[in-house]
Amino acid sequence: MNLSGVWGVLSLTFKESIRAKWLILFTIVFFLLAIDIPDLVELQGHILPANYLENFLTVLVGFSLPIIPLLALPMSSTSIVDEKESGTLQYILSNPISKTEFFLGRTAGLLISTSLAVIIGFGAAAVVSYTTNLSAYSGMGVLILFSVMLNISMLALGFIISDLSKRKVTALVVALFTWLLFTALSNVTNLAIILNLEFGELAAVSLVLIDPIELAIILTTILLGEPDTAWSSLGLIAYDYFQKNTVLALSAAFVAWIAIAFAIGFIIFKRQDLS
């Protein structure tokens, strides 16, 4: 294993991500989403209850998780096709570095840079909002954990798109469409109910299992200990199906989703000719 080469690709990817400003922009967006300035002002004026920020996490889950893929998907979906288009992938692979080592370095670089954006954005917001209220941090920790997992799953999906695209612009359009599709699946309440009524619980649960955004939302909501009135229809159906094994089953599905997507992305990349 050419570890020096892997490190070279990793550090290049990390630096290029930061240089693109995309990452910094998203860190600020995540921070602003999580900090919720209007509510902070109202808290200072005692207009909102003192524990409002902890309750606000439920709201934050609903609108921040669907935005997470917008960071990872465009970055990873263009990461390989862009290098193919510009010829730099051929240059990199002309060195004594294998496709496996390149993929490893590229994945690690993007994983670290995008996960840092999530962790720093939400983490900084938690520090500003909760200051010394340490118990409140665990809730934010759960949100960060599933945000990072969602981020990883989207990176893996992005690699598949990048492998299969011939042009960077095509990859970007497909990535945005994929995000839209998952977000739509995650938000169409009636679809879950129709599937449940027409084809049974398993059909509705399948809708959860194939959508990492929905998986992240349901798991975060359950682990935050939110009352079932705050759950989505799909979350309720999934809980009804898996009962007390819901967290375990959905977590396993989430991990499997990530592993399978990475494996597919890697196999396609490894077998592809550079042309």
Partner: protein, 344 residues
Amino acid sequence: MTILWPTRSHRRILDTAQKTIIRLTKSKPGQLLGSPSTASPPILSVENVTKRYGKFLALENISLNLAQGNHVLILGPNGAGKTTLIRCIMDLVSFDGRISVDGVNVKRDSSAAKDHIGYVPQNYAFYEGITVKDHAILSTRLKNTARSEAEEKLKYVDLWNVKDKKVRALSDGMKQRLGIALAMIGNPPLLLLDEPTSNVDLRGQLEFQSLLKTLLKSGKSLLTTTHLTGLGELATQVVILDRGKVIGQGAPDILLKNMGVNDTLYMRVKQENSQANVIRLLEAEGAIEVSSDGEWITASVPSSIKLKLVKDLLNSSEEIDDLLVERSKIEAEYVKLIQRSRNN
């Protein structure tokens, strides 16, 4: 029983040992080990390589050998398969046949084979957003060599003074030299140069030719692809590719001779009324396509009669004011060979 699976470094040691044994067994009595030997294996060996992209045949049964310190020039129009051949050598695409670099089979151990290769990409495909120095450091990491090589190689191509500039800020000539510097990191014995002069001006081309001469003197082996003129004189071997097939291969002079290509003679006479006499003399001596354009006479002259013809002209009663013989160049003539091959 413990079984030790050979790692990459073990395999390299085995490769080196194997090559040393080959040299020892092939060396003549008294010959120093490691000194250039005609019996030493070629630095690059391409055997019956065929590459298809779906139904499209990009390369058909290509074979060539490149000896240590030699320069093979791959000539061909766009789409002939030149870049595909380079991709096969670097194991970036799947192919049928066998390629070995310095004795290492590229299919069996691609990374070890690429240890012996330095590649200068077409159109300067570098990371434009990083500095020259950072790019060189990236190359040392990819090749797993000392960081100090970055400075050494940038100084070699006279780019150390612009080390903090972004790659995108460099001129085409500088990018070309950067390509050479990056390719030389790790001191590979074989350099692959893909269309190295396609984007540089005349001055850049001349500088590049001078750099190539230095590389050849230092013992590097070069494989260059081009569809332009200017590199033929530096080549020891030329391979002409068209539509994925080799249609001509050999030393440039021999190829030109076999093609029946003539040199061109230009001359100017002092008195205008002498032109007709000179033209008659040229035609009588065996020159062909003789014509006059203003004060200049142009003639196509077979190499076999070139010297005699010039001697006779200078000894004639006609006063020659100026005379120039232009040697034909394989890079300028290969198109005719392609045309002939396509017509057949």
